[in-house]
């Protein structure tokens, strides 16, 4: 868990499979704890979520003092004698899961038969929903029943069943009870914030019933997750006033240059807007509770809840999608950031927006940091020492710029004193071999043999059209080994990821020739397609390789970067899918237009409003 999903920002859903085990984990952001439960993948244990929550609560309450006062030293020196508590909780969880199964069936029967009795019970015992609200966590409604059942521990078994039935009863009877609930919650403003969580969960349960529209008029602010779009026209104005300013700001700069951006000024403007935004919903909520909440949010320590973050995250997600990040990636990223920030205590004078933005920025930088080294020259030197050529294969869909970037990379290698053999394994496209021959001629003109001790720096190995690409590659590599070339660059034909026979052919080429570096060439203009391309390419390579550990894509070349101004989201999508680094960035059609990726500049361009 610690090395894979969390640092790579895949912490959106909280389960993770590794070999034969499934690991479910939960983050406590206030005290920076991670709770992990591991169990056999084949078992389906229903009580695991509940167990993790219970363990989390107990552990936190028990050792709260140590965390708060002593910090790191407390963690080191304290003895956490939790084993007995843990065994007890485990036993409770197992028992409750056995008990619950028959209980569910019974409540269903009861709801059909005896409607009146339960209804009376709900109306008189007004504190029952209030208690439930106080012990609430933001999980499914089943959890509601379980929490309410465990918290008032004094309730006897019969009562427990009835109360569980009562919960279910409430949910099914919501149509009738909705008005009562509304009045009740309006009366208790303080509990109002927490009460919102049971209601949306209740709504989720009844996905099919048309009741949702009845509530829409009265509780729009509750059910509304997309605050920015529907929360009345008053809030739309600050948003619109903001955008034209930023658009004007951009015109003073050269298009296509990525500067080091300072975006602190925009953050301040954002903060003013946020203060306005938060004051408006609090006005709508009415009463003292709303004003108090806003003040508490600005000064002092308020812990972040899901509801606070949801509107901001929605906006961030739309912003990312507008910057050409693939939609599913944006959703997963926002989920992961939400999980990381939930329950965290904010410092003084920081708004929710700034905290979320900060976290998102860190997440993006983290994604763009390479997991392995990105030093091609170093590896070439190593291969040189072992007297074998360093083989690089370029693959990708049609028209992304494989041949052009191959020429640029060979230019760069020649500048650094390595001799290059270009293998023309694109035997399909008309003119592919001629294109490479022209490049070879130009490069040799730029670096004539005389200036490099009499040997030709660049040579083309081709066998015409229509032949088998894998065979040509193998011959090219042995030719390079005989002639003493340092690097072999293999150019393949472009192919769509859905084209099964062509993908098989590519996989065969890579499996047979075992190149040192497999580079996927993708253009920066691609949007959601990037996800599909990379997934299918990796899958094809994995499926058709005979070895235990198949050779997958080792790096990405991002081309046509000069055509996008700051919609650099494709970089994020590609690195997120493969977790492999972006090795080169192509920014034009001349030989000098080869760059390496600067993670901070890309993230700054992404986060710019």
């Amino acid at each position: 868990v610690l090395t894979a999903p969390l640092p790579q920002e895949r912490g959106g859903n909280n389960s993770f499979t590794h070999e034969a085990l499934t690991l479910k984990y939960k983050l406590d952001n206030q005290f920076e704890l991670v709770f992990v439960v591991g169990f056999q993948k084949i078992l389906t244990l229903t009580y695991v979520d509940k167990l993790i929550d219970d363990v989390h609560k107990e552990f936190r309450d028990k050792y709260r003092n140590e965390f708060q006062q002593k910090g790191a030293l407390g963690l080191l020196n304290g003895t956490f004698d939790f084993k007995d508590d843990f065994m007890r909780l485990l036993r409770d969880a197992e028992e409750s899961s056995k008990v619950r199964a028959p209980t569910v069936m019974k409540t269903f029967e009861q709801s059909l038969k005896s409607q009146k009795t339960v209804k009376c019970m709900i109306e008189t015992r007004g504190e029952k929903p209030k208690e439930k609200v106080k012990n609430k966590k933001n999980k499914g409604s089943k959890k509601e029943g379980a929490e309410a059942a465990t918290a008032p521990s004094k309730a006897p078994a019969g009562d427990k069943q009835l109360s569980a039935a009562g919960d279910k009863e409430e949910l099914t009877k919501d149509e009738i009870l909705q008005k009562n609930r509304e009045e009740f919650f309006r009366r208790h403003m303080k509990a109002g914030e927490k009460s919102r969580s049971p209601k949306p969960d209740a709504q989720k349960e009844k996905g099919k019933k048309p009741r949702v529209w009845d509530l829409g008029n009265s509780n729009a602010k509750v059910l509304d997750y997309s605050n920015s779009a529907t929360n009345g026209s008053a809030e739309a104005c600050p948003v619109e006033g903001f955008d034209p300013d930023m658009a004007l700001g951009d015109k003073n700069r050269e298009p296509g240059r990525l500067y080091d951006l300072e975006y602190e000024s925009e953050e301040e403007a954002e903060e003013e807007k946020v203060v306005q935004n938060t004051s408006k919903p609090s006005a709508k909520k009415g009463g003292l509770g709303g004003m108090f909440g806003m003040l508490k949010g600005l000064v002092g320590s308020k812990s972040l809840t899901r509801e606070d973050m949801d509107p901001v995250l929605e906006k961030m997600k739309d912003h990312l999608i507008a910057k050409n990040v693939a939609a599913e990636i944006a959703v997963q990223l926002c989920e992961s950031v939400a999980k990381k920030l939930e329950g965290k205590v904010m410092g003084t004078f920081t708004t929710v927006t700034s905290t979320v933005k900060q976290a998102l920025q860190e997440a993006l930088v983290q994604i763009l940091q390479p997991q392995r080294r990105v030093d091609v020259l170093r590896d070439v030197m190593d291969a040189q020492r072992h007297r074998r050529p360093y083989v690089v294969t370029f693959c990708g869909v049609n028209g992304v710029g494989k041949s052009t970037n191959l020429a640029k990379i060979s230019f760069w290698l020649i500048e650094n004193g390595f001799s290059v053999l270009i293998a023309a394994c694109d035997t399909f496209r008309a003119g592919a071999v001629e294109q490479l021959r022209t490049h070879t001629r130009r490069l040799n003109a730029l670096h004539p043999p005389e200036s490099h001790g009499g040997r030709t720096m660049v040579q083309l190995y081709e066998k015409g059209y229509g032949k088998d690409a894998a065979g040509i590659a193998m011959e090219a590599i042995s030719y390079a080994r005989n002639q003493g070339f340092d690097v072999v660059l293999v150019d393949t034909a472009g192919r769509m990821q859905d084209n099964a026979p062509l993908m098989t052919a590519l996989a065969k080429l890579i499996a047979v020739n075992a190149p040192d570096l497999v580079l996927f060439v993708g253009e920066a203009l691609v949007g959601n397609e990037a996800v599909d391309q990379l997934v299918k390419f990796n899958k094809a390579l994995a499926d058709h390789s005979m070895a235990q550990t198949p050779r997958l894509i080792d790096g990405i070349v991002l081309t046509k970067f000069d055509t996008i101004d700051d919609k650099v989201g494709a970089a994020i999508s590609m690195t997120y899918i493969t977790s492999k680094p972006i090795v080169f960035v192509g920014t034009g059609q001349t030989y000098c237009d080869l760059r390496s990726l600067n993670a901070k500049a890309v993230v700054a361009a992404l986060m710019k409003a």
Binding site: T3, A72, L73, Q371, R378, M381, R595, L597
Partner: protein, 254 residues
């Protein structure tokens, strides 16, 4: 200048009236004074008092951290966030330094380095002596990234390369590690400066050491030392760790 000021002052005086003008001036002076004092205090507070523990994953940083602070052995996991605590020297209880243990995971290490590099008075770079042969390129790359960083070059904090895990028999000695690192950094200098420039072309990476001569740790602007240590200790988990050299160096630096 003075001529322009006079009529302005006169106009101001007329507007506000005598006592009000004086109070305004005094208020402005008070604000300026507090501003200066605040800046001064901040400058004092941000003095560098931290010792950073850097290194690759599984080098033993977190165990070293635990050993230095509490003397006991603890089972550790991969760190995903930093931990910091004050460390009192064993001989001289009055001085103390802040030890900061940073994660070594590739995605996280540069981020945390950014955050803490300005506050670093000294850097302990922990190297796994057993896996060194395999990992020499990664170790050298991380060390290179730390050394060419602008802030590090400017502040020149003292650098200690702690060759950890000496309790294992296959561990390499500090001398060998030093030689290998120098050779590797020498090569890295060349390849890194030849790499394609970054997108915003903020200038190439700084030059490490002297051009023309082979790279040597003595060419760096900061003091570099090599020390062998073992966080686990030769007697296993119960015994004490072998941290003599490390503690002596910390006493020197503090």
């Amino acid at each position: 200048m003075a001529g322009g000021l006079e009529p302005a002052l006169a106009a101001l005086r007329r507007e506000l009236g005598g006592p009000a003008l004086l109070s305004v001036l005094i208020a402005l002076l008070a604000v300026a004074l507090t501003f200066l004092v605040w800046r001064f205090v901040q400058g004092r507070r941000s003095s560098r008092k931290a010792v950073l523990l850097l290194g690759l994953c599984d080098a033993g940083k977190t165990l070293l951290f635990a050993r230095l602070l509490s003397g006991r052995y603890r089972d550790t996991q991969t760190s995903i966030t930093d931990s910091s605590a004050t460390y009192r020297l064993s001989h001289d209880k009055s001085t103390n330094v802040t030890l900061i243990d940073l994660p070594g995971h590739e995605s996280l290490r540069l981020q945390f380095l950014e955050r803490f590099k300005a506050a670093a008075r000294a850097i302990v770079f922990v190297v796994d002596s057993v896996a060194f042969q395999r990992e020499v390129k990664d170790v050298a790359e991380f060390l290179y990234q730390v050394l060419v960083d602008g802030t590090v070059l400017r502040n020149a904090p003292a650098l200690l390369i702690a060759c950890n895990k000496q309790d294992v028999t296959m561990a390499k000695s500090a001398k060998l590690i030093q030689q290998q690192l120098e050779k590797e950094l020498n090569t890295l200098r060349v390849t890194r400066s030849a790499a394609p420039t970054t997108l915003d072309s903020s200038g190439g990476p700084a030059q490490l050491g002297k051009k023309g001569k082979d790279f040597d740790f003595s060419q760096l602007p900061m003091k570099v030392e090599f020390v062998e240590c073992s966080a686990r200790g030769s007697k296993g988990e119960e015994g004490d760790a072998d941290l003599e050299g490390l503690e002596k160096w910390l006493a020197k630096v503090a």
